[in-house]
Symmetry: C2
Subunit: 210 residues, 2 copies
């Protein structure tokens, strides 16, 4: 699971984390949290997986919660960037929404191990960190809501409940991380294409002249 | 979270589990697994939450995995029954599908703590038990797929990819357990009504004469 994840997407997983020892510890933490859960994982487990001593871990991360926060922050930042790039792109509301869903779904399929940790361990973050992450999630919510509102305003979409539909669209995409299986029959691109079509139906998009 | 769950739905939570000591241990296990994860929970923790000794626990459950299996089995059985009752009911394919989505969503909102444990700890089950649970999930899948196929056959629905749409409909409903919050603005019934409407859009249901 995590091996496949590491070979997809960026050239080096978590390449933005430096120095390399800090990056390797983060990769080890994602794997350990995904396998056993945050509370069942010790900093000793994480250091061991990364081939380091517990003392070496503390040079880079003061607590286990700091590791979870870094993972969650980077994961949410990337998912939000993917969503915003599509939302701010050219095209009709339908084209931008379809593009956003394709990208967001692909991200959750390609990074399903990270996404699961980030989603299921939210309650393990300290209050301050959880507040910060919830604010990022509100921004994802706003990006989708704005596209739907644009489409409603210009007559492309027919949506009786914009906040509820926004919630459902994001939920549908995020849950890909739960069920996606690299050994399954559908590629991330195929799931993205299917979901883009389903979401256009959810917002009552009129068939477009192509 | 779990307190709210215990006051909703059935008169007594897990009332089908007898004797009462076995039932109380199951309730304690759901709470402990939800809070700390399966691997971070010991049988001692579970016995303590239920006000019993570890020795008293072993009278009812030989292992921690047996507790998870009972929770998962009962949870999946109930969710499947809810889905099938609607699927086998009277009415058009659209009416049955809308009813099934409303019921399945309500179940996942009312029992979100149990549903989270059941979904997120699937990998912690032993091979034999996981195979049994996966078979139950295939039956849920078949119930939804059959309704969609019925609607396609009789011209009510327009669905280019029936297996993919089935997967998406179930995923949308199941993920309610992740985000549903009893302190939130929407009741389980309201989420059920919204989702029934969205799912009818996903399958391209023609507006019905009412």
């Amino acid at each position: 699971m995590s091996t496949a994840e590491q070979t997809e997407g960026d050239d080096l997983p978590w390449g933005e984390v430096t120095p390399d020892a800090a990056r390797r510890l983060l990769v080890a933490a994602v794997e350990a949290f995904a396998e056993r859960g945050y509370h069942a994982t010790t900093t000793r487990d994480i250091a061991g997986r990364a081939g380091m001593s517990p003392a070496a871990l503390y040079i880079h991360y003061k607590t286990k919660e700091e590791l979870l926060h870094r993972i969650s922050r980077i994961g949410h930042d990337k998912a939000l960037r993917v969503l915003r790039t599509a939302a701010d792109g050219p095209g009709s509301a339908a084209e931008r929404l379809a593009d956003a869903v394709r990208s967001f779904v692909r991200w959750h399929a390609d990074h399903h191990t990270t996404a699961r940790v980030v989603q299921y361990e939210l309650d393990a973050l300290g209050d301050e960190h959880r507040t910060e992450i919830v604010a990022l999630r509100r921004q994802s919510d706003a990006a989708v809501r704005d596209m739907i509102n644009d489409g409603v305003r210009n007559g492309e979409f027919d949506v009786p409940d914009v906040p509820g539909t926004t919630l459902a669209v994001l939920s549908l995409c995020i849950d890909v991380a739960r069920w996606f299986n690299v050994a399954g029959t559908r590629t991330p691109d195929e799931v993205g294409a299917l979901y883009a079509d389903l979401v256009l139906r959810m917002v009552g998009a009129r068939p477009q002249a192509s």
